[in-house]
Symmetry: C2
């Protein structure tokens, strides 16, 4: 494809994207496709001859968009706000157009140094001290794995020797059952073994880690000859945006040498651009690494997981490689981000953060997040004021966890309420007018309302509340027989 | 930013990208910036107020582009061809514009199913049997780590128990010293320990793994009570595009139970769309996993590392998570790519492969790769025909490894030739007219000419050959005193 062919197609694509974003609200939020529907509309054999761009635009419209849950829709309240702000999309487009290759400073100095710039800007914006150095990973899963690998190696020093199999003490990692599934996954991938993933108790009403239980478990493991090597504290859990008490956790962990403290603020990190929210990670300056996803609430498009550490030397020691074909005279004077994570090659991801911050400005980002916090508090007040509804977890940020109790159901216990919750949530989702994701907390199903889509205003949240009330009433009237959706779940918490 | 503001800025950006690509050849290939130059041209504090898009376009032109080594320049012969074909860039732009979120099939069915489609198209195009299932990872480093983690868990079954520290036998992984640095890195991250990374002998002239030595080392390890768990065979090494004999390696490894065979064809995989090249990975059907980077020679923009396995169940067993907030009624009927790798969230990367294949067509991709192979053979013939030049490794693909021997230097031995090589390569690179990367092979510095930039035609390669001859002559005339560039290297092979 020549630059002029690209120019013509590119203009058409920009218009298509602008139209798509402008008309998003007219689409159903949840896709109606069934498994295999999209697949079946593609040829089974690859294209031998060049095809037209018009065909692709038509296919985007007819085959792709109907096959997506519309995450950017202002009536999307599922999972988490996965904003893809158009300002950041422009940065992503610039990155694609440049086609730069980050494998060393020399291959693309600007790619490296703009990443240093924007990571430092976000360090300042979130109120972190100058002790922190940052880089961009793809996701918080990768960031957590990176942290646990560095923790393991720093504690066990298996490098340059016989590896983990020669360790004389079992290494242990601590988190709560409310931590993201990626924490356990990372611990297993890092070779800790499930028996060495210690689920510390959490407060039954706030879902926050109990630091006293952490202290006891560390003591028990030490007494049993095991080796505590890492604590993962979550600031803003996936289920309820619960806030582990970072300061108290740091105090406990620092009674012992060599425990790496990683703070997983994937969701809540965005809020730290608001000074009034920073009490939520009070004590973070005592941690060793932290991660938060600018591709969630802040709105820089995937994949933009920020990873900060106060101990870059430990990170580099574990991650560095230095093959001769990557040597250059700049070595030793520059940052080599290949030594800050798992992949060697990297895209120019800093551009999307730069464009986003430059075009929107920090002030406007703060205003938007404050709008969302107001909307969340407004919805929480409505739910609390309604006699048949319950807010089942604290609302420190933008996620409201709710249960509806229909009159005829109140005596039927948890099982019936669970079925009712799944039924009314499915009614909302099946309508295409809004989207929520349920989750299981402490053995019962709850509905999560995750606020924070970029274009989501108060009137959208009001509309959601009406939809929720209507769906809950209809579901209650319908009776207690579980529908197809409900039966897809086996009810056990995993 | 509103859709209409995006529309205006997007059109300007598309034009800027088209102009950038059209005028690339007028720019110096290697950036002239010094460490810190780019950084110093950015504000040290983040932008509080919204800025204009024009400022960004100016900054791209003035601060970013001069700070990049122009990987897409037709006179770029460094590292490897990291093509970012404009057809694939359009797919990347569509992905950014959609802002889809891949965390489960339900969040974006089209994201999942188009990935299934394009991975299967590329399976067919590279002549792999239907036994292989594919997914897209970011880089071959991540793919190799994934393979070794699955190998470790499949062999050692440390899941659901005490982890690696409880293993009674040291797990061992096998590769050669010519394998990419990411293989050793992956082995260390996977906890094998450096003492358990076995560097199998390679043929001194082809740089290919010696399968007899592999057999001996496996036997030795078994006799010593260690546990052989993985072999990484490289098809197209980074240094010389050497080809490990996959068929013979499979035959050796399959004499024992449970050795995972991973084929790292990061560079050479693209060539497998040419039937005449497939003898280079003869035997690959006996492997367990393989990876190749469509973001190299094939030209789909970063990050598009294809990972195939004949054992998806083993992969899923190691990588799967299933938290309640991701359950849906489609579970069990659909592919959940979060269980095929490390990250949970994924971009819609399949679009760039789809757009690339659709807009260019497989026929044209094959023609381009054949052009590059012809160009490489042409250059190899010129080098071979010149009495003062030497081709120092076989040329199975598009990389030519060369050394120049100036007359007055022939008696001075390896050290002097090394200095001369670094000197003339630096002359080429400093001219801005072409770019090469030297590497150290078997104790001596060689120059690598890596052919295969999308816009690189025969006349570019002819021009390079003239530049190489001129630079080598000038460097020889200049004498034997190492310059600044040379002294940056300590001369040891790492």
């Amino acid at each position: 494809m020549t630059p002029d062919e690209f120019r013509a197609a590119g203009h058409a694509l920009i218009d298509w994207i602008a139209d798509y974003r402008a008309t998003l609200e007219q689409r159903p939020v949840r896709t109606g496709v069934e498994p295999g529907d999209v697949l079946s509309r593609f040829p089974t054999v690859p294209p031998e001859d060049a095809g037209s761009f018009d065909e692709l635009l038509t296919a985007l419209e007819d085959r792709v968009v109907p096959g997506l849950t519309q995450i950017q829709h202002p009536m999307h309240y599922g999972w988490f706000p996965a904003n893809a702000a158009l300002a950041s999309v422009l940065g992503d487009i610039a990155s694609s157009g440049l086609g730069a290759l980050g494998i060393s400073w020399e291959s693309a100095p600007a790619l490296t140094e703009v990443e240093q710039v924007v990571c430092d800007w976000l360090r300042q914006l979130t109120g972190l001290s100058e002790e922190w150095s940052g880089t961009i990973h793809d996701t918080a899963s990768t960031s957590c794995l990176t942290a646990l690998l560095v923790a393991r190696e720093t504690a066990a020093r298996s490098y340059d020797d016989q590896g983990m199999a020669s360790l004389d003490r079992q290494p242990v990692v601590y988190c709560t059952s409310q931590a993201h599934s990626s924490v356990k996954k990372a611990a297993l991938l890092a070779g800790f073994g499930e028996a060495n993933v210690r689920l510390v108790d959490h407060d039954p009403s706030t879902f926050a880690m109990d630091p006293d239980d952490l202290a006891h478990r560390i003591d028990d493991d030490l007494a049993a000859g095991r080796h505590p090597v890492a604590v993962v504290a979550t600031v803003g859990t996936t289920g309820t945006t619960a806030i582990d008490p970072v300061g108290a956790i740091v105090d406990v962990a620092r009674r012992h040498d060599g425990i790496w403290i990683h703070v997983d603020a994937a969701m809540a990190g965005s809020a730290m651009i608001l000074p009034e929210c920073r009490h939520l990670w009070q004590g973070v300056e005592g941690a060793d690494s932290l991660t938060w996803n600018a591709h969630k609430w802040l709105g820089t498009i995937l994949d933009t997981s920020l990873f900060y550490t106060r101990r870059p030397d430990a990170l580099i020691q574990v991650m560095s490689t230095n093959p001769s074909y990557l040597w250059s005279k700049a070595d030793g004077q520059v940052v080599q981000y290949r030594d800050w994570g798992i992949p060697l090659g990297r895209r120019f991801r800093a551009l999307k953060l730069w464009f986003h911050l430059h075009l929107d400005g920090a002030d406007a980002l703060r205003a938007r997040l404050r709008r969302d916090l107001d909307n969340a508090r407004w919805l929480a007040r409505q739910v609390e004021a309604a006699s048949d509804w319950e807010v089942v977890a604290p609302v420190p940020l933008q996620t409201i966890c709710v249960v509806h109790h229909p009159d005829h159901n109140t005596v039927d216990g948890v099982e019936s309420t669970n079925a009712h919750t799944l039924r009314w949530v499915e009614r909302v989702n099946a309508s295409g007018r809004a989207y929520l994701t349920p989750t299981m907390i402490a053995g019962r199903w709850i509905a999560r309302v995750s606020i924070g889509v970029e274009t989501q205003e108060r009137h959208h949240v009001k509309r959601l509340w009406r939809l929720m009330c209507d769906a809950a009433q209809s579901a209650a009237a319908e009776g207690a027989v579980p529908d197809g959706h409900t039966s897809a779940f086996d009810g056990s918490e995993r």
